[in-house]
């Protein structure tokens, strides 16, 4: 638990003093008196927008599978801030006189605030918004929260520098898609502060033995070099754009391999776990149903009060920043409890099953063996066999889980600045060229197709197609 936060005082700044937080991953995180950036960070942490992150779990519903994984985005964000400070010191070491302390400050605060825009049960919530045609990336929400003139974050950032550009610089760094300089790499790169915290924190809190990384050695061997940011093809034509990013000294190759394998393993074993995905699908189905009823003017059928934050958010034109900020895991968890008494039986049934962990029955195509051709043929057969059920959502098909060595959820190509580079004869080369282990995993993206059935009998029919005929 962090020490008691100072209450926010906008009229008169609270007296500065050194604050300390004990963290299970990084040890002591110190906000030293006399360090303006650390003191700014402490004041930002005390805002309602940041405190909301205590009520959003880092791994969403993974605790259905890994009971220890109840850590919050609040703890993660503090860890990211801590790592960002370390990365900035490395940039300073590497750049020497060219180091830009003002950009470094932007990067550290952006790292602290990068997750402000996560919604409740992030992935399930984002999926619902997507099906409603209202997808907005969490980075976009984060930037809006930071720029919000009605919020508590902006006044603190505006006051930090006389020219009042700090707010926009922080927001822009979070929402920028492509890197502009090495400071962006602190927030988004193959070796960014976010990744360096969550890989270690999620491993610790889930209790999985897999996925260890040689953190200190990697940090010691970190270098800065320029890479092309355009999609890789034979050549990038005229004047390809190049930006500086993190890469590693050749001595770190084995540790860098382990780092990528750790990430791959955590995705395979934790983030894309079939039961976790099942719960996410069930919550998404429940929220979608609630949203549809609210949109149809049937709010009473949801069992929720007229002023419930979910009702406000899902009503027409309700996806405002204020309504978004009123949502967190606790609010949605409470809503699920209320929905158990919903007149709408679809909703009440789902709510009860979620409360009692009476989950849908999962069929992973791996059940049919490792041959992908056979798996895909079985998928076609199941699609035909359960065409009606797939249409009415009593069977859910999930094709959204895929991992590669860099990406976890597909994508066009891997972002260049998210690829890992090793210095080879002084020049950065992509690690897949130098590492046989990584190359093997990079060549084929692994995709998991799962079906989730309301009933066990349906799953059994899907497993054994002749069961219907044989009774």
């Amino acid at each position: 638990m962090p020490p008691k936060a100072q209450p926010l005082q906008t009229e008169a700044a609270p007296a500065e003093r050194t604050q300390r937080v004990r963290d299970p991953v990084h040890g002591l995180i110190v906000f030293r008196v006399g360090d303006p950036l650390a003191q700014l960070a402490w004041r930002l942490i005390a805002t309602p927008e940041f405190q909301r992150l205590r009520r959003i779990k880092q791994l969403g519903v993974s605790e259905f599978v890994f009971p220890g994984a109840t850590h919050s985005r609040f703890a993660h964000s503090l860890g990211v801030f801590h790592v960002a400070r370390t990365l900035v010191e490395i940039i300073k070491r590497e750049l020497g006189q060219k180091f830009d302390p003002t950009r470094a400050e932007v990067a550290v605060i952006a790292a602290l605030l990068h997750d402000l825009g996560h919604g409740p049960f992030s992935h399930a919530f984002e999926a619902v918004q997507k099906t409603r045609g209202m997808a907005k990336k969490h980075e976009t929400w984060s930037a809006e929260i930071i720029r919000n003139t009605q919020g508590k974050i902006r006044p603190l950032l505006d006051a930090y520098r006389p020219n009042r550009t700090f707010t926009d610089e922080v927001a822009h760094l979070i929402e920028a898609e492509d890197p502009v300089d090495i400071y962006h790499a602190v927030v988004s790169s193959s070796f960014d502060a976010d990744r360096l915290d969550y890989l270690r924190r999620d491993r610790l809190m889930t209790g999985t033995g897999a996925g260890a990384i040689d953190f200190d050695w990697l940090m010691e061997q970190l270098r800065v070099a320029e890479v092309e940011i355009e999609p890789a093809e034979a050549n990038s034509g005229d004047a390809p754009q190049r930006v500086p990013t993190f890469c590693f000294d050749p001595k770190a190759l084995p540790a860098a391999e382990q780092f990528l394998l750790a990430r791959y393993t955590l995705h395979e074993q934790v983030y894309l776990h079939k039961t976790t995905r099942c719960v996410e699908q069930m919550i998404a189905k429940l929220l979608k149903r609630a949203a549809d009823l609210i949109q149809q003017g049937r709010r009473a059928d949801t069992g929720l009060d007229a002023n419930h934050p979910l009702v406000r958010f899902f009503q027409k034109d309700g996806a405002t920043l204020a309504n978004f900020l009123a949502l967190d895991d606790v609010v949605v968890g409470g809503a699920i409890e209320q929905m158990e008494a919903a007149p709408d039986t679809d909703l009440s049934g789902l709510a009860r099953r979620l409360r009692d962990r009476e989950l849908y029955k999962t069929l992973d195509l791996g059940w049919f063996g490792h041959d992908v051709g056979r798996q895909r043929k079985e998928a076609r057969r199941i699609d035909r066999q359960f065409a009606d059920e797939l249409k009415n959502d009593s069977v859910i098909k999930d094709e959204g889980a895929a991992i590669g060595i860099y990406t976890q959820i597909g994508g066009d190509d891997d972002k260049t600045h998210k690829k890992l580079h090793i210095l080879d004869a002084g020049q950065p080369r992509e690690i897949t060229e130098l590492s046989v282990v990584v190359r093997e995993l990079a060549e084929k993206k692994r995709q998991f197709t799962r079906y989730y059935f309301e009933t066990e009998s349906d799953r059994n029919r899907a497993r054994s197609p002749n069961q219907r005929e044989t009774g």
Binding site: D178, V180, A232, V372, R376, G411, Q427, E433, Q447
Partner: protein
Amino acid sequence: MEREDIVAAIVAAAGGKLVGRVRLQKTAYLLDQRGLNSGFDYEYHHYGPYSRDLDNAMLDAWAFGLVDESFDRRESDGARYSIFSLQPGASAKDEAFGKLGRDRAAALIQKFANINVTVLELAATIDWLWRKEGYSDWRTELTRRKGAKVQGGRLEQAINLLNEIGLPPP
């Protein structure tokens, strides 16, 4: 017709070989705006409009022996990229080209296959920004999202491409 037939048709029309995942995705998106009617859903990703359905269709095309994916490397930094090749015996079905028709689709696909991939990315993103996200000032938003990629005449090339293929931005 199955979804993998669309992948096979695109690769076949490109001359049996198409380079790059980004190129495949942007090609499909722009073809859809011209009437391919693939049925794929798109969302916004790092390189612009992206379809997970197409990604899955590609895996189907590989699993069912229609299209193979191999890899090569960029000379400058060893960055790996995909090369999609039509498998021996596989061919394009007419219905896979939708309302667009084989000839018009093939002309567009060949144009997309021979253009700088960043220009293609920008063109698809411009179309996405005004058509799907409703940005009237799509130039500002494009520059904000794509940064340095719009430099070096690439923005102008992307606009020219959109005009040439009948998808002029407002």
